[in-house]
């Protein structure tokens, strides 16, 4: 009976069911994305709670040291030193109980790849002249493109490769240091540590409220998508999907507005008068001073080594 309703044999059934799969998968993907974000946050908090060198370090000392090393990495001109710094970040990940494979994947997945794409043209002699390392195409004569000269050959140059490697390594070291800080520090402590950079308390309060309630918003959005999916019989049209997404956005905005009123009331009820106050539960121990001193020594050694190499 039901099979009689489907337009089989015309080819339309197949394309319609493919469209259906595509449409359902949009909601499925949104759900997966939402739950992935929640899982990721739990996982990151778990890493921050593990026993490890950086986890034990005072967040303020850690933030200052890693930021200092990040600035140093931006000043270094030799790839060998940058490579040594990268190896140091791997060692730090290891002693902080972070899986090296996971750490490498996390760092290299996006930013250095994008940096690589950006830096790719500079490898070639047509964009940056230099000593050819690998000849790709010998034109035999000078090729011009409008007012630009492309030279007599297309080659990967020694200078281009060194420049690209330097940039990619610099990005990798910087991202590694930032990821180390983010993975080994609870967000709450990381935000509080921003006080050492003289970030005003009100900004820290707003940031921590945003971070706290983003998860509630994600959970509400996830519930809304799940509820919609559980009531869906058959495919919905793209127009209906668009309408649902638009109404979800409206509902979420309304809910967050109501909730922000309630949160403010709850804060006022416990004495908040517009002047945020915070406690410092951080204590600089001997080990924290030792780590800070080590970071300073590494920074000095890196800068000196870089000058010697140059």
């Amino acid at each position: 009976m039901l099979s009689g309703l489907s337009p089989t044999g015309t080819g339309m059934g197949k394309s319609s069911s493919m469209a259906e799969v595509r449409r359902v998968s949009v909601i499925q993907r949104t759900l997966q994305g939402l739950s992935g974000a929640l899982t990721e946050s739990v996982f990151t908090e778990q890493i921050a709670a593990r026993p490890g060198l950086l986890q034990r370090t005072d967040p303020r000392a850690k933030a200052l040291c890693l930021l200092g090393l990040l600035i140093v990495a931006a000043l270094v001109h030799t790839w060998q030193i940058l490579l040594a710094m990268y190896l140091l970040t791997l060692i730090l990940a290891g002693v902080s109980n972070i899986s090296i494979a996971f750490f490498i994947k996390r760092v290299w997945l996006f930013i250095p790849i994008f940096a690589g794409i950006i830096v790719l043209p500079s490898l070639f002699s047509v964009f940056r002249t230099g000593d050819p390392l690998w000849m790709i195409w010998d034109f035999g004569h000078e090729v011009t493109f409008g007012p630009w000269s492309l030279g007599t050959s297309l080659a990967i140059t020694k200078q281009g490769l060194a420049g690209a490697a330097l940039l990619i390594l610099r990005v990798a070291v910087s991202v590694s240091l930032a990821v180390l800080l983010a993975l080994t520090t609870r967000w709450a402590n990381l935000l509080k540590a921003l006080r050492v950079f003289f970030v005003p308390r009100i900004f820290i309060l707003i940031l921590s409220l945003t971070y706290r309630y983003i998860f509630l918003l994600l959970a509400i959005a996830s519930d809304m998508f799940t509820a919609r999916r559980s009531r869906m019989v058959g495919p919905s049209s793209p127009r209906e999907d668009r309408r649902f997404v638009a109404s979800s956005m409206g509902t979420l905005l309304g809910k967050s507005h109501t909730m922000s009123d309630e949160i403010y009331s709850a804060m006022v009820s416990r004495g908040y008068t517009g002047e945020p106050r915070s406690t410092h539960r951080f204590h600089m121990r001997v080990a924290d001073w030792a780590i800070s001193a080590s970071a300073a020594m590494v920074a000095i050694a890196v800068i000196t080594g870089d000058r010697l190499f140059c």
Partner: protein, 278 residues
Amino acid sequence: MKNSSDEKSKVFEIDEVSFSYEDADALSAVTFRVDAGERLALLGSNGSGKSTLLKMLDGLIFPTEGNITAFGEELSENALRDDRYSQAFRRRVGFVFQNSDSQLFSPSVWEEIAFGPLHLGLTAKEVEERTAETIHILGLEHLKDRPPFHLSGGEKKKVALASVLAIDPDVLLFDEPTAGLDPKTETFLARLILQLADAGKTIITATQDLRLVEEVAERVIILGEDHRLAGAGSAVEILADKELLLSANLIHDHPHKHGKIEHFHPHSHLKDHHGHEQ
């Protein structure tokens, strides 16, 4: 002499209080008083104005008509603008919100519990001690460094409660405290409310859970669906008044089968056939 002790024992006096949200009435000419050490329940169906009334008792919103007196002084927006009065009032009155997520805004459980004492002018040492003590009393040591969004519903309610108890207020306002809780946490909460009452705290609980009223309240005030005071009396009297509970939409009649006999009787879905009439 009698008058002076009468004034002393009075915590709140609500006099002909009305409140409207734009065009919709939330409360109409409500009058009653709350004495120190009382266990009072505000009973009413959804939308009867219980939460609005609690927010007014906590000085978060203010009557559009009528007056509220707290501890012998008028509770108004102007009065709360005075920092000293506001701080003294906030130290004496604690509010446990229905939705724990609204109340748990800090990045960790420890900071959540420390928020009240910290903002009410306690010294850093006192904040540390008060927070540690509250965490210990409620057995929250294992949660103290966790972010609130990773907690279960029952854990969130306990932390929300701890965040208010850390202030050590004289009066505790509970808005639907058992809503959405598992039976174990519900029992824990009811027991804690009784312990707090034994310690001399004034407890005001807004609820529609008749079982909770029976457990924790000695006096009940009923708000009707017309947002007016529908009745007041001892918990035993009110819970026995089926007509009043029916009119306030707290119990209802529906066909019911017992074996082969089908009949109607007042029934609350929040408890098991309490007040069954054969």
